[in-house]
């Protein structure tokens, strides 16, 4: 993958890519940790509570406390579990989430200033690997991400885990269809699979945003994104009220934490895709152009928390009904109409 | 430099692994897995040939192989479930009721 990248963009060096990868890993991990804090705070505010307040000012150091707790907790592996798979599963979730982020433009291009020894003057690209099929790659990696919960549930010799794994397979497989089909209509309009082309297509301002042309696709993508990131209205994989904790029942410590980091990284990925594909993305010319996309990503992230505070869960049969009888026909009809419009 | 032969050798090795699996396994699910291994080996060969001859036909065939694998899994899983309902096992030796 890196070979094609180096061929495509001559000014990008391997060092720059590695720096970018490290930045993504570090920053997104930190944001994922911070996301838990934001989620608690927002949910608390919406329930007129204060949320975490004790550790640090306004509870800001709660992340550190959580991290210490997760790292020092006993790492329990059940006796009858398939130990190797049990240990690998959370890594799959986290790894696929971060690999998906590698082809998403998250941070701006920048050049490391000259005064820093060794790395001075290195160009760090905005996308770690600028595949010209970026969107499909992200969707594919998120599809591969279903193995985390699936293997976790199947390896732990626990009936709740098996139910969680079955729900993983059903939910992710079904909603991948909706994600792909809903994003197909914008792809047809733009005629490219690259995030950069999407961004350039909508560069003319708010009026040219994809939302106005493809409102149905936008809504469908959001719904499917909620299902793919296992967020609340479709939080059936680890729904405490039904299956104790679903696939994560037997997990503790940092292995459980890795599921969490993966989930939050996936939330960020879905937010970034929604922001770039539907809400105009970033503005490469303006100096503060990157602030706009961060605001958009923040809006989608907040929307996920907001929805969690407001809406109830659905039943698994309702979830399948929604996917196959409502969303998928809508997506197909949307594609058909878009195709007719594009052709005519 | 990596040439076409490298890819073809890897593909052949993987194909023979799949073949060994098909010959060796008795469990129906494992047989399906071995079949997938063979299909993937062929896919690698097609993609490599397509790359080194600068021709898209290989990739086209790889797509169709993936489509075939997808339909295989749909029908195969149906058969798997029916057999499991009927016999309570997926072992081919248990399923051979016509041996007389």
């Amino acid at each position: 993958m890196e070979t094609t990248l180096v061929e495509n963009l001559p000014q990008v060096t391997a060092v720059g890519v590695i720096i970018k990868a490290v930045i993504i890993l570090a920053v997104i991990s930190a944001i994922a940790g911070f996301g838990t804090f934001v989620e608690r705070k927002v949910l608390a505010f919406m329930q007129r509570r204060l949320g975490p307040m004790h550790v640090g000012p306004y509870g800001l150091l709660q992340i550190a406390a959580d991290g210490i707790k997760l790292f020092t907790k006993e790492d329990i592996i059940p006796q009858n579990a398939n130990k190797l798979i049990f240990m690998i599963a959370p890594v799959i979730t986290a790894a696929t989430a971060f690999i998906a982020l590698s082809s998403v433009p998250v941070f701006p291009d920048f050049i490391i200033p000259e005064f820093i020894p060794l790395l001075g003057g290195t160009f760090v690209p905005s996308i770690a690997s600028d595949l010209n099929i970026g969107i499909l790659f992200v969707l594919g990696m998120m599809a591969a991400g279903l193995y985390g919960p699936l293997l976790a549930g199947m390896s732990q010799a626990n009936k709740w885990g098996i139910i969680g794994a079955a729900r993983t397979a059903v939910q992710f497989l079904s909603y991948e269809v909706v994600t792909g089909l809903s994003i197909l209509a914008p792809i047809m309009l733009v005629g490219s699979l690259s995030f950069v082309d999407f961004n350039n297509y909508q560069a003319a301002g708010i009026g040219s945003w994809m939302v106005w042309q493809q409102p149905v696709a936008f809504v469908l993508f959001l719904i499917a994104g909620f299902a793919e990131t296992n967020r609340t209205p479709f939080d059936l994989l680890e729904h405490e009220a039904e299956v104790v904790s679903g696939y994560a029942t037997e997990y503790s410590g940092m292995r459980w934490g890795m599921f969490f980091i993966g989930e939050y990284a996936n939330m960020i990925t879905i937010s970034v895709i929604a922001a770039i594909v539907f809400l105009g993305g970033y503005d490469p010319e303006a100096t503060l152009g990157w602030l706009t996309i961060i605001l958009k990503i923040g809006f989608f992230f907040f929307l996920m928390l907001w929805v969690r505070a407001a809406w109830p869960h659905v039943r698994p049969d309702q979830l399948m009904w929604l996917c196959w009888k409502v969303l998928m026909p809508l997506a197909v009809v949307n594609i058909l109409i878009t195709a007719i419009v594009v052709m005519v | 430099m990596i040439g076409l032969s490298h890819y073809l050798i890897v593909s052949a090795i993987i194909f023979s692994i799949g073949l060994v699996g098909v010959l060796r396994r008795r469990n129906l699910l494992m047989l399906f897995f071995a079949t997938e291994v063979m299909l993937n080996a062929v896919n690698i060969a097609f993609a490599a040939i397509s790359h080194y001859y600068n021709d898209l036909t290989g990739q086209m065939f790889a797509f169709f192989i993936i489509a075939i694998a997808a339909s295989e899994v749909a029908v195969g899983l149906g058969i798997l479930i029916v057999l499991y309902k009927k016999h309570g096992s997926l072992d081919l030796d248990d399923l051979s009721s016509m041996r007389g």
């Binding site: 919406m46 007129r48 509570r49 204060l50 907001w306 929805v307 407001a310 809406w311 409502v326 | -």
Partner: protein, 207 residues
């Protein structure tokens, strides 16, 4: 509130409201129209609006409902029945308990134990008085039966302690002598209520 209202245990016959959910549709078309109706009616957006409204109310209008408990405590009812307080006489500062033993007798969980003796002035004094808070059910009978209003229920409801001896001794429950000025007369369950005079019916002199 009259006594009858307290004694009425027929919860089912009280005026509860029953929700009129209507008939759930059985036909496919009916289900479809129900989904369409519910989607178009925007009930989901009402939910979103309510949560965001509560968030803004909480953040900017001071409607936050959190009580940071160990640091701030809600005022509790004066008639709350928590850990007992032994009161002192305001005039002399000596404790009110006369050692009659009524509380020990009436205690239904048998958790009060007391011992008395005569001191050098031939006055009865309480030599030992403990309440086993592991057994106490905080029924309030002891406070109600006390003729001297010596034992009352105080507002101290944090019962956790490192040792159970730490708050069950007489001296611990007794109002500290230096805080005598803070002792309130109407302080807990079993004390005379402020409108006691109005409630007392005069016994006719003929009896």
């Amino acid at each position: 509130m009259s006594l009858e209202q307290f004694k009425n245990r027929n919860v089912g016959t009280q005026n509860y409201k029953t929700l009129d959910l209507g008939q759930s549709p059985t036909s496919g078309m009916g289900k479809f129209t129900q989904v369409i109706k519910r989607s178009v009616k925007g009930e989901l957006f009402v939910g979103l609006w309510v949560t965001i409204r509560e968030m803004f109310n909480a953040l900017f209008r001071g409607n936050m409902h959190t009580v940071k408990y160990p640091f701030e405590k809600l005022p509790i009812s004066p008639r709350y029945r928590a850990i007992h307080d032994m009161l002192r006489l305001l005039e002399s500062g000596s404790y009110r308990c006369i050692g009659c033993g009524l509380c020990e007798k009436i205690c239904i969980s048998n958790c009060i134990s007391m011992d008395t003796r005569y001191d050098e002035n031939q006055r009865k004094e309480v030599s030992e008085y403990t309440i086993n808070f592991g057994r106490c059910i905080f029924c309030g009978y002891c406070a109600e039966v006390c003729p001297e209003l010596a034992i009352v229920h105080g507002p101290r409801y944090e019962n956790a302690s490192e040792q159970r001896a730490s708050f069950s001794l007489f001296e611990d429950m007794l109002t500290p002598i230096d805080k005598l000025n803070l002792q309130q007369e109407y302080d807990g369950f079993g004390a005379v209520s402020p409108n006691a005079d109005e409630n007392i019916k005069q016994t006719p002199l003929a009896y």
